[in-house]
Symmetry: C3
Subunit: 283 residues, 3 copies
């Protein structure tokens, strides 16, 4: 542990150990495209999954969990109602709530739903790509200036601006914000992890982002006093698993086998490997 | 074949051969988390899958099948209606109906739905973990005594009590009851198979229970006069596939690859391998 | 390129190169059984997936895509409404629309829905098995004669009749028609590709047909002036991937591993391999 901004930081390895020790139970209201990989990735990282998206079921189901992962990838009217009920209940109980605003910006329903969840549920963590997060920031009306200056991807050239943007959005929402892409940013209002793990081939698999979201939720649940460190650890874990998985690819393998090898690498990750392989700086 | 309690027993291998010979077509109303693995496991064992959960579609779909597998893992109001319509129709036609009461006990909706299916549809087979089956038994009001004496897991120490409990619940419901866990129990009112196949690592994969349920349905459909033997054969098959799959794991493999290797082992199973690898006693 | 019936034909390899160059974005309204494999197969072939089946979401989502893949495998009242909205919007924008009429003929709801989509949306491509396509052709009332003479599978013996049938149905609907099975037929009103790639073991995996449909959509989007050639290229690609995937199977592998190897083979396919491995004649 080290001191930063007056707060004790928890190391990536300590965050992983906490997940392994606590087996966080996560309620997932998620899309049906990647849900099986989400469940297996959560099991791989040391958590445990429950899925339910029926409004009449979610109040009780989320009550017995430690955290809630809301992913709007294949939202519908019924599941949106379930998201609001479960989100309110989870916050009432002090559970960690994570929002993955899949496709925010691509349709009015997605943008409005994501913004409503941000405004009414106040998720502890929001994880998306840069377009989704910028859509949410724009919608709030006050971060337009920052956003107008920021380019559409996080690059070495615009990194200072993007770090300021993500910290400002974290300050505004009170959430830990994770923007994932070629360079990943994980920030609260004070610190921003800049993470350079992962491989570009991960974008040829469906659902690595969805998997990461539930893993982030598990990490935040197991490390409640260090959520920004925990989410950063989860993001490093996923990127490093992508690197390890790729290193095991054989001639003739493609994206389907790569999917398996990434989840396998999450399954086999220990704190020593994570600490040795994580590539990040803190700003 | 051998005689037991005045009834001819069908061997595990004979049960498997019947599935391979008949290719049972199973209508699955199941959760969207594990549905793809359910379909592939059913194909692997020699059956054939159809999925439908729309109330206006299920009456006709279940009519052309040989059996119905109802799994409440991600139930919703629409699919519950479909379960009742399909269940009633399947019974009317004399089809095998199996209930997998996923999460019974975890929410009122799940408990109530599972109990309603037990009471109104009278499934031929009920397969769940010990908590789910105990929830159903408690709800019925008359097996509390047995249940109160039974611990929360099936162990060598409480095995006699659990065997009595499962036989009593089978007698009460008229269903074949399968309780799966470290030790599996498959019983009707007269006999109880105590099965010790499988590996603990199977719990790190989502959906091995869901896969087993549809395989049990296929086995019961193909062996209509020997349902308890058939379900026991399916439970041994799944556990043995877990053992064979694990034996093929290589350095760096994890739960995602293990998932594939288990289904592969189901695909390659023959009656000789099943008979040689099954570990069970009959009480 | 070569001239056929006065029209310039585009080679299979050219069709593949166009997909790789354009990364077609496909909106999929598809079943929840095989949706993950559909997304990964589409990514493997060089396309990009979006899934949405909420009536309030699909108008905008399909507007930002290049094509729409409608699969009725687990249709429900909500998703049927979404199919009609998205289909109408996609046609309005001149997007490619593909219909996969899963289970047409097996229930009234499926048959009626598929026929309504054919009659009202006029899909650019219809891909199904022989039973599904014959159901659609019968329903139209005028191809009964052809259908009555055609057997239930495409064989070398009835090939002439089947080629005439599929060309006639293509002429009637104005759609490219793909009938897949042991022998595949891809036709418009003028030409019919007779394709002999693939392996019988592909039927032991769930969803190879669903995967093929989204790949056909991507190929048609990327080759808008040569849709029949493009769909034929996609069908050859899938069959050849099945052959290549099977050649990589090892002792103990089964249908789950085969699923991965087929998608991997799609991922690694290049135009030279496709041209060398495709087995087809044009009638």
């Amino acid at each position: 542990m080290s001191l930063m901004n007056g707060k004790t930081r928890r190391s990536l390895g300590e965050c992983l150990e906490a997940v392994h020790a606590k087996t966080p139970l996560i309620h997932n209201i998620t899309n049906y495209v990647t849900v099986n990989d989400v469940a297996n990735a959560l099991l791989a990282c040391g958590g445990s999954p429950i899925m339910s998206d029926e409004p009449k079921d979610v109040y009780e189901i989320t009550s017995i969990c430690g955290g809630l992962n809301i992913n709007i990838g294949t939202l519908n009217e019924r599941s949106i109602e379930a998201m609001m009920i479960a989100g309110a209940r989870a916050k009432e109980l002090g559970h960690v709530v994570l929002l993955d605003p899949v496709g925010a910006g691509a349709s009015t329903l997605r943008t409005t739903t994501a913004q409503t969840i941000v405004n009414k549920i106040h998720p502890d963590v929001i994880r998306g790509n840069i377009s989704e997060i910028k859509t949410l920031a724009k919608g709030s009306g006050t971060t337009k200036g920052v956003d107008a200056d920021a380019a559409d991807t996080v690059t070495e050239d615009n990194l200072d601006d993007m770090v300021n943007f993500v910290k400002a959005f974290a300050a505004k929402t009170g959430s830990v914000i994770a923007i994932t892409g070629a360079i990943d940013l994980v920030a609260d209002e004070n610190v921003c992890y800049v993470i350079r793990n992962g491989r570009k081939e991960m974008s040829r698999i469906t659902g690595t982002g969805c998997q990461l979201s539930t893993v982030c939720a598990a990490y935040a649940v197991a490390n409640p006093d260090n959520k920004v460190d925990a989410v950063a650890a989860a993001v490093c874990l996923m990127g490093l698993a992508g690197e390890i998985g790729w290193s095991r690819m054989q001639d003739g393998d493609g994206n389907s086998t790569y999917r398996n090898r990434i989840i396998d690498a999450i399954f086999n990750m220990d704190s020593k490997t994570l600490e040795a392989g994580a590539k990040y700086e803190i700003r």
